[in-house]
């Protein structure tokens, strides 16, 4: 019995490293700790204050580990009216969906956890559309009016944000001429798609903020009216899971933005080995995108739900369609079908 396990490990060791190692589980947990710490430090710096300092004696890097340890020791309260099993499970499953979507993203040439080729971009988008369903499940299971309102609001927002996002990715697909994420990245060798696809990028950026529910659109958990939206009822470890889900969602969407518009793992080589180069470039671009998100987060007021939907339907979708028409026109009429 033990021998079979050892043989299994030897046979697909590289895949195991990928799944548990770099682009897989540990990377996501490390990213969660980094993102929350970075958000608290960066926003604190913008608010002219220090943010966590004393937790790790150096810039407070152990702060998130301290929070996680405290949350693990907290008592978990399950309200009597809530559907207990769904309530407990739904917190954890929220982060599973974006995690599965990240497996498709190549961090270097042919270095994705799930190295299939072909229709990877539509598959990625299909997986990501499941996220709001689990958010509603969380809100509904807690059976508290505040969370239910928060959950329904997140559906309005996701519908208003998702369609323009998908339309803008269509623009990229047409311009690159393929469905496969890796081919899209390769096609950006000459020029990043941000410049030819600028209109599509603007639409993508706005709906990206709507999808990860950051300030201009963080209506589901708007502190002003509903206490924490659909996350109000979770305490202790369950709250840790829902925070994990929130930030893995941010990771998935920003990785998509990098691959579609900023040329994924392309970049002048630092070390010889292509895999390490690609990963370093992806991580650098990831940090830049996350910083941009937090900067946008701090400089705008929260929109009302009807204004957000109006932005989604009246401005983003027509712009996205116009972008598609323009790319078709430019690609096949002027450049003569690349």
């Amino acid at each position: 019995m033990f021998k079979d396990i050892m043989k299994f490990i030897e046979v697909n060791l590289p895949v195991l490293i990928k799944i548990l190692g770099f682009p897989g589980l540990t990377f996501i947990l490390i990213f969660l700790i980094f993102a929350v710490w970075y958000q608290r430090k960066y926003l604190a710096r913008l608010m002219t204050r220090m943010g966590p300092v004393h937790a790790g004696k150096v810039l407070g890097w152990l702060q998130l580990i301290a929070d996680a340890l405290k949350l693990l020791t907290k008592e978990i309260i399950i309200p009597r009216e809530s559907m207990r099993k769904i309530f407990v499970l739904s917190a954890g499953t929220l982060s599973v969906i974006p995690a599965t979507a990240i497996t498709l993203i190549p961090f270097a040439k042919d270095f994705a956890i799930f190295p299939i080729r072909g229709y990877t971009l539509p598959l990625f988008l299909a997986i990501m559309t499941l996220y709001p369903i689990f958010v509603v499940l969380m809100g509904w299971a807690a059976n508290n009016k505040f969370t239910i309102i928060g959950a329904f609001r997140s559906i309005y927002l996701d519908v208003a944000g998702e369609i323009p996002l998908i339309l803008s990715t269509i623009g990229v697909m047409i311009w690159a001429g393929t469905y496969d994420i890796q081919d899209i990245i390769e096609a950006q060798k000459s020029i990043w798609f941000v410049f030819p696809q600028l209109l599509g990028f603007i639409v993508f950026l706005v709906s990206f903020m709507a999808m990860i529910e950051k300030v201009p659109f963080d209506i589901p958990e708007a502190e002003a009216e509903l206490v924490f939206g659909y996350k109000t009822e979770f305490s202790g470890a369950l709250f840790l899971d829902s925070m994990l889900g929130d930030y893995v969602n941010l990771l998935a969407w920003s990785l998509l933005m990098i691959t579609l518009y900023f040329g994924g793992y392309l970049g002048p080589s630092i070390t010889g080995d292509p895999i390490i180069d690609g990963s370093i470039w992806t991580l650098i671009k990831l940090v830049i995108v996350v910083t941009m998100t937090f900067t946008i987060m701090i400089s705008y007021a929260r929109l009302r739900i009807d204004q957000a939907i109006r932005v989604g339907w009246n401005y983003l979708i027509p712009l996205a369609i116009l972008n598609i028409i323009l790319t078709i026109f430019v690609k096949y009429v002027i450049l003569g079908g690349g």
Partner: protein, 381 residues
């Protein structure tokens, strides 16, 4: 007698189903935005049909306590009514006592009082801007910028009076101590710092599209309704009524200083926030004038033994609006009855009446309420 239990309110943060698809949303005392009170909103999910401000959560009964304090001790409880605007509130009480006893305060004390009151008004307006921007969903950056900008002013006040918030510095007949050396330069440098901070607030907040989108044309208070419901302070002036107690009934040194009253006619939430930024600028000029030509002389005068009047009504312009203190005395050292009519008490009534003349959305309730700069302690006394 009445059965109080029948009026028992629903516990906080509960959502109660009413008939006709409406439900009652309690933004209770424990709510990131509600401060020390609660506002009960009856809505169908989007349109708000009625707002009710449930106050009394920090009712200390100051009017009753003042009947057990002589005139000098009365400063301590009344100052804690609004910790933000301590000197303006204390000025109300002190002015009423001075009217009763017919005291004319030496000019130097009046100038010192004006400087401290205007510094306090800047703190109060900064706090109002911070809470207002946070209620509109702003990231707490603006709130923390205003918190940071209050620190230098608090240092000056600590230098002059010895305490950051409740100074007990105004006493009937004058001021407790003279200005320390070097405070003049300190104030002038702080005012210069504040002026370019105001510029930062203006272009990062007032001229920002998402904020204007949320607040322009929302919660419009027409002039006639503002007067009929008794709005106070900037909320009244923004609806076109040019009434400022410092100008109409000058007290302290306001008659010798020239400043303009900030009035607009639009009366919506956007201009209520904008008027407070302009009033900070007006306060800065007032302090500069007062510091320049402050006269020499005594800073305190003893109270005569017997009051001249039996009753007096003092009106003072605090940060939130106009405070009225009515005092009745029978000649003894303790006032017989003190009636305090705070500005927020009247502003809350205006907030409760607004949904009757305007359609207000659920998400607009916090910015609307915080554009009136509510302070539950002020309304509770």
């Amino acid at each position: 007698m009445r059965d109080m239990m029948s009026y028992r309110y629903h516990p906080f943060n509960e959502i109660v189903e009413l008939e006709g698809g409406l439900f009652q949303l309690n933004m209770g005392p424990q709510h990131p935005i509600s401060g020390q009170g609660r506002f009960i909103v009856i809505t169908d999910g989007e349109i708000v049909y009625s707002i009710e401000m449930d106050i009394g959560y920090s009712h200390r009964g100051i009017e009753k306590i003042l009947e057990y304090r002589n005139l000098m001790q009365g400063i301590v409880p009344i100052e804690r009514m609004v910790m933000l605007d301590t000197s303006n509130i204390a000025m109300g009480y002190v002015l009423a006592v001075e009217k009763l006893y017919g005291v004319d305060v030496p000019p130097r004390a009046q100038y010192i009082r004006t400087i401290i009151m205007e510094l306090n008004r800047i703190i109060s307006h900064l706090y109002a801007l911070g809470l207002y921007s946070e209620s509109a969903g702003w990231n707490p950056a603006i709130f923390l910028w205003t918190t940071a900008d209050r620190e230098p002013i608090l240092d000056i006040l600590e230098m002059i009076t010895g305490a950051r918030w409740s100074y007990s510095f105004f006493i009937p007949g004058g001021v407790r101590a003279d200005l320390p050396r070097g405070v003049k330069e300190r104030i002038l440098t702080t005012l210069d710092y504040l002026e370019n901070r105001i510029r930062v607030y203006e272009d990062s907040w007032i001229y920002n599209e998402t904020f204007r989108m949320r607040t322009e044309g929302m919660g419009v208070l027409p002039r006639s309704k503002a007067i009929e419901w008794g709005a106070a302070g900037p909320n009244l002036r923004v609806s076109g009524v040019p009434y400022d107690t410092r100008k109409n009934e000058p007290y302290a040194a306001y008659d010798e200083l020239d400043f303009k009253i900030v009035t607009h006619t639009a009366g919506d939430s956007y201009y209520r926030g904008w008027a407070r930024v302009e009033e900070i600028k007006v306060s800065i000029d007032i302090i500069r004038q007062a510091i320049e030509n402050i006269p020499e002389g005594r800073i305190r005068v003893a109270l005569p033994p017997k009051p001249v009047q039996e009753e007096a009504l003092a009106r003072v312009e605090t940060g939130r609006g106009e405070l009225n203190v009515y005092m009745y005395t029978e000649g003894r050292d303790k006032p017989y009855r003190v009636k305090i009519s705070p500005p927020s008490f009247r502003n809350f009534y205006v907030i409760e009446q607004l949904p009757k003349i305007q359609t207000i959305r659920l998400a607009d309730v916090p910015p609307l309420i915080y554009s009136f700069d509510p302070w539950f302690l002020d309304a509770d006394r």
